[in-house]
């Protein structure tokens, strides 16, 4: 019988009437049983009236929609097991490790990204760390404490939103182009892979020469895809070397939905920044998006770099909380990051301290409920 159903309420009130009639009928019972019968009848009436009122109130506001709700609940809270990153063994603190996810092909960097784990990364195996992204030409980065540092050496083509043809045009990096469809994106990627990623921008027409000298300055970062870089970080499964890149047009489309492999809560509708799935649906937003929506945002739909936190979550224990430190020339680029994470100029000590202030603490896996 449903706790909030009419049958139970009607039954209760019928019983009230029955109890009243019976109590009146046997009120003048003779002998020793008179008082006990009266007390029993009255108490029964009192209980039934309170129950009847309570059931009506409960039906109106559904405080307890079921008997189970009234009688106590089965606990549905779960504590997920501690996360692991595939590079955890290598990331034991303050030593830069090259990180070469296949997706980095689309980022047009001057060299593979560098990861620097905080000093206590290995000592706190149950914690996930927020991310500090550094956009810089420099290589001597003092890493953040209590956060995983990702050093990216951008090139003018690292315009996260533009097509390869547009990259070299002056000023383009700062200005998001209109959203592109996911399929258009894929094409962009595969055409780009024709030239090695992190390739010298000099090869692109009009690339600034300043940048083209950079790859040589990255220590321990041989041309992208070198053998030392993250084993197992390649869903394609192809075995190391630059060859990976040349086979990429085939592997990249398949590699894209990797965001789904992580625990990434970003995959939810309206999900967190960095959720690729969310973004790929975005070209449809303009008709429904309210007027005055921050102009920078919808164009996040094709931001390849925005997938970085999700990609990194496969390889290291990171959350998707991000702060970006950027050299002056990359500030505009940093500000196009979807979700508008804090952007701080420079990468000196105070800048890292400021970044740490803006980020959550490293935490153990949260308790979760089904969603």
């Amino acid at each position: 019988v449903s706790l909030t159903g009419l049958p139970l309420i009607l039954l209760t009130w019928v019983l009230v009437i029955v109890a009243v009639v019976a109590t009146v009928r046997w009120w003048r019972l003779s002998g020793r049983r008179r008082v006990p019968v009266r007390v029993g009848g009255l108490v029964l009436i009192e209980l039934l009236v309170v129950a009847g009122v309570g059931l009506i109130v409960n039906r109106e506001d559904s405080f307890y929609p079921s008997w189970q709700a009234l009688g106590g609940l089965r606990n549905s809270v779960t504590v997920p097991s501690a996360p692991t990153g595939r590079l955890d063994g290598k990331l034991d603190g303050h030593v830069p490790v090259t990180w070469s996810p296949p997706e980095a092909a689309g980022w047009h960097l001057a060299g593979p990204p560098l990861l620097i784990a905080p000093a206590d990364y290995a000592a706190q195996p149950d914690r996930t760390f927020p991310i500090v992204i550094v956009l810089t030409a420099a290589t001597d980065i003092r890493p953040a404490s209590d956060a995983v540092t990702v050093v990216l050496h951008p090139t003018p083509r690292t315009n996260v939103l533009s097509t390869p043809g547009k990259g070299p045009s002056p000023g383009a990096p700062a200005h998001p182009t209109p959203s592109r469809s996911p399929s258009a994106r894929t094409n962009v990627l595969s055409t780009q892979t024709a030239s090695p990623p992190g390739a010298r921008p000099g090869s692109s027409s009009g690339g600034q020469n300043v940048r083209s000298t950079q790859p040589g300055t990255v220590p321990g970062a041989p041309p992208a895809g070198a053998t030392g870089s993250s084993p197992g970080a390649r869903p394609g499964g192809s075995s190391g070397g630059q060859n990976v890149r040349s086979t990429q047009p085939g592997t990249v489309p398949g590699a894209r939905p990797t965001g789904a492999t992580g625990s990434s809560p970003g995959a939810r509708p309206g999900g967190s920044p960095g959720g690729q799935n969310v973004r790929s649906t975005q070209p449809g937003t303009p008709p429904t998006s309210p007027p005055g929506n921050p102009p920078g945002n919808p164009s996040g739909g094709t931001n390849v770099l925005s997938a970085l936190p999700d990609l990194l979550a496969r390889d290291a224990r990171v959350t998707n909380s991000v702060v970006i430190l950027a050299d002056p020339e990359w500030l505009a680029l940093a500000k196009t990051w979807p979700g508008h994470p804090p952007v701080i100029a420079g990468h000196d000590g105070p800048a890292f301290e400021k970044a740490a202030r803006d980020l959550p603490a490293p935490l153990a896996a949260p308790q979760k409920l089904p969603s």
Binding site: E46, D146, N293, T319, D358, P360, P370
Partner: protein, 353 residues
Amino acid sequence: MSIDSRWTVVVGLMAVLALTVALAFFWDRTRSLARAGLIALIVLAVAATSALEVNRLTETYPSWSALSGNTDGEDAKEPLPNEEPEEPAESKPGMGRLVTYQVPGKAGGMTMPMTVYLPAAYFTAEGKKLEFPVIEALHGYPGTPQSWIKRLDIAGRLDREIADGRMAPTVVLLPFQTPDRLLDTECTNMAGGPRSETYLTKDVPEWARTHLRVRADRAAWGLTGYSAGGFCAMNLLLKHPDKYAAAASLSGYADPGIKVGDHSEKTTNNIAWRLTHVPIPAVAMWIGWAADDRDASAGSQLIAGLAKPPMTVVTAVVPRGGHSHGVWRQMEGPAFDWLSAHLARPAPSAGDS
């Protein structure tokens, strides 16, 4: 005997029983006037006992003095500016502390007591150099901050989440959201009534910044609440994205369900309206409900469906439990964990660095 103890209700039940026995026993020896009087007393006793039990559930009047009209804050202390709360004398390690202060409503006009959870780290030598993130936790209607403390054991839960590393040490504020316990403000500025929104988003934060070692910046401020407080948390976050970065709603609604007096319950104080008519701010929301809680489930799902970037939403569903403390006791841990993961960490004050 406290008004919200189980024994108070038991005493009420004994009184009902005694009066019932008296009626049965003396019926034949008294005249109709006395009989009527006894019956009236029984009705009164049944009603009063039921009311005591409802009050015990909601903590609307957590003390006898609250019932008699005094504010709860008689024992609240008004600390001098920068006065440090003393270290708890007899607390176990890892145990936070609840302290009650009187918070004047300079802008909102409401002067109310507020209970504050100070994490254990607040009192350590290392913690004394830090400023902590803040969560404002809002109660339901009817209810008081005592509902969080007694029914949801907020202090014990926060202690556990912090000790297990799922949450950073955080200062949690438990303000009143109405000066009149039977007036449902839904944390709005009511036309011709209390200015609850101003009190909660201006007076309370300003007081906390001047009296407690808490961070002043938006990135470290969050909101939570259950039932009406869930609506409050989401509504205040969307209305004041310059002051709060994240909110967690436990069985909250999409609209206030009251008349604010200026029809804003249909517009600016209506979350569904805001999400479709006002630019959406870059904030983060955790929305939890029980699948069998009809109204909160409909409202919460409406909000989750309307949310668009740059706002982010995470949902959490308890399979059953309705609109009850049992549900919120399950939700508060995950909600606090999520909030802490979306708020800036405890850090040395910006002036020092």
